[in-house]
């Protein structure tokens, strides 16, 4: 087998891990609260800036990452309390407009604060050589932490009372109160977890990419496409779709160019939407 192709497959797998983590966060929020956070990737951008600045101010990378995850979790809470909660019973289009407005707000605010410079955190992680294959340690690390995040979420959803309530709420919203569950509390916890996952995504991406106010536009559409492809709210579907899309981008990028690979991915997406409009794992 062509070792460059193998390298592309491995890179696709590693990219898929991070995309899967972000798709999980977005799907979790959609599944529980029934609102699509259009600005989700911009929370990732906030996380990236948080790590970047804290690290620049001399914080150790691990502390900066931990603080960024916590900060974006709080940001997730604020998004729910300030933006989602007031439009919770409004028409879906109004909810989309509200979170879409948040996207422009966050991007403009970041531009105002930090300018449009591309900033690199400047942490040089080694390149691993496996025979003739080169793998970036930053990507490997990102993949590992993304999987840890996904497994932690899975365990939380399976083993805890809040987790069971989160899985239940999308199946029957109205009767949650009869179970003694305070719906508002579930929404808050979910928003914080969604924020924390975005923050973790930011930590993992800032090690691989320059941060700038519009970086969310690079990942945002991709994450939405993945979630819709897997079936909005379907976490397993989103997880699988992440790896399909990342492989197309990575292998397509190897044979043609990254731009063409995106064209290919979105074309496949449109075709699949005609064949399986409710997602690849639709029941």
């Amino acid at each position: 087998m062509d070792i460059y192709l193998l390298e592309a497959v491995i890179n696709g797998l590693l990219l898929g891990g991070v995309l899967a983590l972000l798709a999980l966060g977005l799907n979790l929020i959609f599944g529980v609260i029934d609102v699509v956070w259009i600005a989700y990737a911009d929370l990732v951008m906030c996380g990236m800036y948080a790590v970047y600045w804290l690290h620049l101010w001399g914080w150790p990378l691990t502390a900066a990452c931990a603080a960024a995850v916590a900060a974006v979790a709080v940001l997730g809470l604020l998004v729910h309390v300030l933006i989602i909660a007031p439009v919770l019973r409004a028409a879906p289009i109004n909810q989309l407009l509200a979170t879409g407005g948040l996207l422009f707000f966050l991007q403009s605010f970041a531009t105002l604060l930090f300018g449009t410079d591309f900033r690199n955190i400047g942490v040089r992680l080694p390149i691993i050589e496996l025979g003739e294959i080169y793998i970036s340690f930053a990507r490997l690390l990102a993949f590992g932490f993304a999987l840890v995040g996904a497994v932690a979420l899975y365990v939380f959803l399976k083993r805890t009372y809040l987790g069971v309530a989160i899985r239940a709420i999308s199946q029957d919203r109205e009767i949650m109160g009869l179970m003694g569950v305070d719906q508002r509390r579930i929404y808050l916890v979910t928003s914080a977890i969604g924020g924390a996952l975005a923050g973790l995504g930011g930590c993992l991406l800032v090690l691989q990419y320059d941060v700038h106010p519009f970086i969310g536009n690079t990942f945002g559409p991709l994450i939405f496409m993945i979630c819709v492809l897997g079936g909005l709210g379907n976490m397993i579907g989103g997880f699988i779709a992440s790896f399909i899309i990342s492989q197309i981008i990575s292998i397509g990028g190897y044979y043609y160019s990254t731009e063409w690979a995106y064209v290919l991915a979105f074309t496949l997406f449109i075709v699949l939407m005609f064949i399986r409009p409710r997602g690849i794992l639709a029941r």
Binding site: Y161, V164, R167, Q171, I175, G177, L178, G180, V181, D182
Partner: protein, 234 residues
């Protein structure tokens, strides 16, 4: 134990209940019968806090329930088996039971309660890993009742437990109600199956177009001409 005094409620501008008064004493089983659309389900939903009270007073163990949200009412000791069971179809039987024990005092005693529910309904124990949506109608009703029992209620509200079930299964459901009474729970049950519900309750109310029309012991109601003619087909 539970007391409704001149309770009115509805949905938006639509009024479904007009000055309904009702009492349930500790240890009793009380039925509410009446035709479709009489407001029986609304009344249950008002008691458990899903539908807001518009006027009147509602107390449980002497304390007002007015204005409490549904999850607080569960904490006070009222569990509601909703109309059409409303299980979480894509959760396992055991997860459905687990979510019934969401409130803190119930979590502390979950192992004991789960054993109790499995003891009451051995069929649920056999099916505990199965998704609730794949259970038969009768098993789903057991699961819905079991889920409500997990919160450790003093009062169990049951909304049309026999609806949509085959005649033989209906009989089993009423047997379940008897067993729950035997466990010492107080039960308020809404039913259209008048003949059978009057066999398991001590007293009953007849609700028609949002008002209490009649009240009495089951023996009295079984002899009442209106009930016999309109609801028992005799």
């Amino acid at each position: 134990m539970l007391s409704l005094a001149a309770v009115s409620a509805g949905y938006g501008s639509f009024r479904a209940l007009f000055e309904v008064s009702l009492e349930v004493a500790a240890g009793e089983a009380v039925g509410v019968i009446g035709p479709n659309g009489a407001g029986k389900t609304t009344m249950m939903r008002v008691i458990s806090g899903i539908v807001p009270l518009v006027a009147g007073a509602m107390t449980f163990d002497g304390k007002s329930l007015a204005g409490l949200s549904a999850h607080r009412i569960v904490e006070r000791g009222i569990a509601h088996v909703p109309e059409n069971r409303r299980l979480f179809p894509r959760l396992t039987v055991e997860d459905n039971l687990r979510i019934g024990a969401f409130i803190a005092p119930a979590r502390a005693r979950i192992a004991e309660r789960m054993a109790w529910v499995y003891d009451l309904f051995p069929r649920l124990k056999e099916r505990r890993e199965q998704l609730a949506g794949t259970l038969s109608g009768g098993e789903q009703q057991m699961c819905a009742i079991g889920r409500a029992l997990m919160s450790g209620p003093k009062l169990l509200l049951m909304d049309e437990p026999s609806a949509g079930l085959a005649p033989l299964v209906v009989q089993q459901v009423f047997d379940l109600v008897r067993r729950i009474r035997a466990e010492g729970l107080t039960v308020l049950i809404v039913e259209q199956n008048v003949q059978q519900v009057l066999d398991v309750v001590d007293r009953a109310y007849l609700l028609e177009v949002g008002r209490i029309r009649l009240a009495g012991s089951s023996a009295e109601l079984k002899d009442n001409d209106l009930i016999r003619r309109s609801y028992m087909g005799l």
